[in-house]
Structure formats: C-alpha cells, structure tokens
C-alpha cells in the first residue's frame, strides 16, 4: 500500500531508506538518535521534500522529484502522532480531534459527532471539554492518536509514541495503542528506539543507522539474527563478526583480522556473524576445567542488574556480556576489575553469514 524510496540530504544526514508497508500492517522504524528516523517520517508526511526516490501511497504518487510531483501535507491522507503530541493548547480535546475533519470540509456538527466517537473510543469521553494542559501524558497520547485517526488517514505515522511516558503508564498506553493499530486498516509506520515497542506493536522492523537500512525483516529474523552491533546491543546479545572456515571463526574488527579464534558448532565459510547469548557465557575464577572449547581470560568492566539476573560486562580478547545469577556473583566473589575466565561451548554459538 505504501511504497517509499526516501532519499534526501539535510545537513550532515544523508538519508536513503526504502519502505514497503501493506494495508493493515505496522512497520517499526528502529534506530539510534540521529539515524534519520524522524526525517523519514517528515518526508512521508510531506513536511520535507525528497531529493531522490519517490513516495507512492495507495497508487497515488505523493512525491517524486523526477516528474516532479509533490503533494503538500494538507492534501495527503496521512495522519501523524508527533513525539510530544503537539495538541493545540487553545482548543479542547474535542476541538483538537475535530480539527482534521473540519479542515477536510466536514460540516461542524458532523465533524463533532466524528470527533466525539474517536474521543470515546480512546477512552477520553469524560475529558472531551478539557484543554490539553489538563491532560496527563498518557491521556495526551490518546488524544493525539484520536486526532490523527479522526482525519481518516490511509497512512498513520507515529513518532516515538511512548517515549514521553513514564514506565507505569507506558505499558497500558502501549496495550491500548496496539488495540487501535489492530483496528486501523491503513498502513502504519512507527518510529521507535525501543525494541520493546517494536516487539509489542509492529509486524516488521526496519533498522536505520546513520541514514541507511542495516537490517530489515520480521521481528523473529531480527532478534534471532542481529546483523549490527547496534541491534545486538538493543537485544542485549554478543555479536562477533569474522571470517569463517570449517568450524572456526577468526574474529576481525572492521576487516582487520585479530588472532582470536572462536570455535563454533556448525561448519562455516566466508564472512560470518557469531551470536553468543549472554546466558551461554560461564564465568570461572581459574582456568576452567570444562569441555567448552572457547576460553578467554577477561577483566570485569562492570555489572548491570536485569530482573533477577546480573549482566557482567567483560573486556578481553573479545568483549562479552555474561548473564549469571546474583548467587554466582557472590560465590565467585566477582568485583569490578577482577580477572575471570569466560567459557562458551561451541555448540551454543549461532552462526550465519554476514
């Protein structure tokens, strides 16, 4: 339904991203700050003009610099929920939601009936007459969603819809947002830097780093086969890149071969990515007497608490994160700066071609 090839250069950002989203599908655009996610969204909304490429929505060309075609934002069937919502402060919630239908020529009373329906459907019926300043973050998010949907868009754009919320409201708002996205029959593009949001709300993920797509696919693809250090870090897993032959991978850093060799389970050949889950890394105070074929001497860089697990950051021949229990930490007497041995069984390392 949406076929976009977004190419544009603003300052130091050189953006080039292709997106295809079907009717009823939710695509998450995941990436670090400054990757160009918001610029891509602004181009889809018509708030930035393309330098290269094209945007086609439901068979209509919205932007194509070669013809040249540019449909201004007011004429695009595109709804946007902005990161800080941008509800009009001088209008009530109801008038905010009625704004879209009013602008598209719907008579006042009809527009208000439509708006009332949307306000009710996001659960703000009792706050319809309130000003945005009187709303909590979660309520403002719902009002912004209702306002975007009331204009009856074919493409819905959400810019970090949950980023401004505190952890408590976040999960409820996320659940409600999921329900509305399920009912929405147009295409949705969701910008986020939180993989949890992508996991909860999206069908597919496109990872954007420094203006380029580094990985795209279903969530299962991305989580089982991360391809970049950024994605690996988001998922909290260890990712090594290197050259594989037979049952070993020689780790290389930016193409420079190191002398670290990783024994892996399956046969590998050529440029290879090796994924080591943190719970597959065992820690020992002395050279371990195990069958694990990968053993590295590391230094403890720090600890992070994650639920009932402790993540231990290690530096050594390869930088690793190990996930162990708090009991193990105290039993082994692990402290920052201590030397430890990390071992990983070859069969616990997943490999795929880079």
């Amino acid at each position: 339904m949406l076929a976009a090839d977004i190419g544009l250069t603003i300052g130091s950002l050189d953006l080039s991203v292709e997106l295809e989203v079907d009717r009823g599908e939710v695509l998450a655009l995941l990436g670090p700050n400054g990757a160009g996610k918001t610029t891509a969204l602004r181009a889809l909304a018509g708030l930035e003009q393309l330098d290269r490429g094209s945007i086609v929505l439901a068979g209509t060309v919205l932007d194509d610099p070669t013809t040249p075609t540019f449909v201004p934002p007011a004429d695009r069937p595109v709804g946007v929920v902005f990161q800080d919502y941008l509800l009009f402060p001088h209008l009530s919630v109801l008038d905010n939601v009625a704004f879209g239908p009013r602008c598209r020529g719907v008579p006042k009373t009809t527009a208000e009936i439509t708006a009332r329906r949307w306000v009710d459907s996001v659960g703000l019926g009792s706050l319809a007459g309130s000003r945005p300043a009187e709303l909590s973050g979660g309520q403002a998010q719902r009002a912004a969603l209702a306002r975007a949907l009331a204009a009856d868009p074919q493409l819905l754009l959400l810019d970090e819809p949950l980023a401004a919320l505190d952890a408590g409201t976040r999960s409820t708002v996320r659940r409600d947002l999921k329900r509305h996205l399920d009912q929405f029959d147009g295409a949705t593009v969701l910008i986020t830097h939180d993989p949890l949001d992508a996991l909860a709300l999206a069908d597919r993920v496109v990872v954007l780093e420094a203006g380029r797509v580094t990985q795209a696919g279903t969530l299962a693809d991305v989580t089982t086969r991360p391809r970049t250090p950024y994605v690996a870090e988001l998922l909290g897993v260890n990712l090594l890149r290197g050259h594989g032959s037979d049952h070993t991978v020689v780790v290389s850093d930016d193409g420079v071969r190191s002398d670290v060799t990783v024994a892996v389970g399956g046969p590998v050949d050529g440029d290879t990515l090796a994924l080591i889950r943190p719970n597959a890394v065992s820690l020992h105070r002395s050279p371990p007497d195990t069958s694990a074929r990968n053993q590295w001497r590391c230094t403890i860089d720090g600890f992070d608490l994650l639920g009932d697990r402790v993540r231990v950051r290690l530096t050594g021949p390869v930088d690793l994160v190990a996930e162990i229990t708090p009991e193990s930490v105290s039993r082994l007497g692990l402290i920052e700066g201590a030397e430890v041995w990390a071992s990983v069984k070859a069969t616990e390392i997943a490999t795929y071609s880079a």
Binding site: P73, A74, G79, L86, F88, H90, F99, G100, C103
Partner: protein, 252 residues
Amino acid sequence: MLAAAAVAVAFFALPLLGLIRDASWSTFLADLSTPDSLSALRLSLICSLSATGLSVLFGMPLAWVLARVRFPGRALVRGLVLLPLVLPPVVGGVALLTAFSRRGLLGEHLYDWFGVQLTFSTAGVVLAEAFVALPFFVITVEAGLRSMDRRYEEAATTLGARPFTVFRRVTLPMVAPSMIAGAVLSWARALGEFGATITFAGNIVGRTQTLPLAIYQELVTDPDVAVALSLVLLAVSLTVIVSMRDRWLGAS
C-alpha cells in the same frame, strides 16, 4: 551601588509624588468636566483607539511577513518599521507633513482627487498616532510569532489545514497574548502622543486637541486642569503596567 540605585528610584518617584501633591482634589472632577477637558478626553479616546485599530489591522500582516517570509531587504523593512520608535516625534510630524499635507507627496493627490485633507483634521491625529504606535505592535507580535513553536502549524497542515486556516485557527490564537500586549502597548503610546500630533494635525480644540495637547495648553492658563488631566493619563499608564505585569515585571 545601593545609594545610586536609591537616587534613581527617587528620580522616578518624586515627579509622581509632586503630581499627586499639586492636584487640586476639591476641584478635581470640575477640572475634568470643563468643555475643553471633556472634548480632549473624548478625542483622545477615539483617536487612540482608532490608531490602535489601524496598528492591529496593518501591523498583524506586517509582523507575520517579517517573522515568516524570507525576502531580500527584510532587515531594511524592519529597520524602517522600527524607525518611529527612536525618531523624535516632532520629526515624525514634519515627515508626515511632507507626505500627507496638501502639498505632500501623497497628500496632494488625496486632495486633488478625493478632496481629502488630513492635516488639521481628526483623521490626521489618528494618522500621527498610528505612525508612532504601529512599531510597538509589530515588534511585540513579531517576537511572539518567532518564539512560537512552528511544529503546531506543521501538525495543523498534516490534518489538512490550508495556509489561511493554519493562520486563523492555530497561529492567531497562539500569538493572541502577544497581540493583546502589543495592542495595549501601542494604545498607551498613541494616547500619550504629542510631538507628531501637534506638528502634523495642529492644536484645534474639539478637532485635534488630544489630552497631551490640552495638558500642555492648560499648564499656562489653568494649571489645576493640567494636573488633573495628567493624573488621568498617569492612572491609565499604571493600569497598563499592572495589567501587563506578568509579561513585563516577571514573576520574581
């Protein structure tokens, strides 16, 4: 430092105390209700409000253009608009004469074609007051437009709003506080206008003699009336300051 500051405060406070001391309170109402006083009050009110109306009507588009449209010579235009802020009002009056008097650049045609004469007329007073009041409105509203978060306007366009709808339903309401402040400011300036008015429109009782002109004249003939009228303007000024306190005096 403190002593010098105290001197400065006294410098502002003493004239006000003097004005209140010299007021002839027993005849205060009578002084304000002389025919000349009443006509000056009435004329001042009409002219200053008309000048404010003109300032809003023409100042709003001008402020919008200066804040939002990039065009060559924008700095020059802004300088031109702000000039009356620093120009001696009497020079403004002379300049207005050269443009709008019966032999002026435009005034000549106004008279020949339409029989309109602005000098020595109430319309001339409004013109002179608008000349000095307009910059206050423009500078205040332009600042308001510049400090406004333009993403609200973008949000409106994504909802299907055309440029004029964006202006009417989003921009205008969001800069309304600046517009009110700018209007109050230019009204106060118009109300006190003296130099440009007397130079361009003269000092004709009932037609061009506004409050400041009446005060100046009564100071010679009847100082009690002059002080009484001055107190009226002082009261207006204090009201303006109090009503704008959140904006100007800050919350300290």
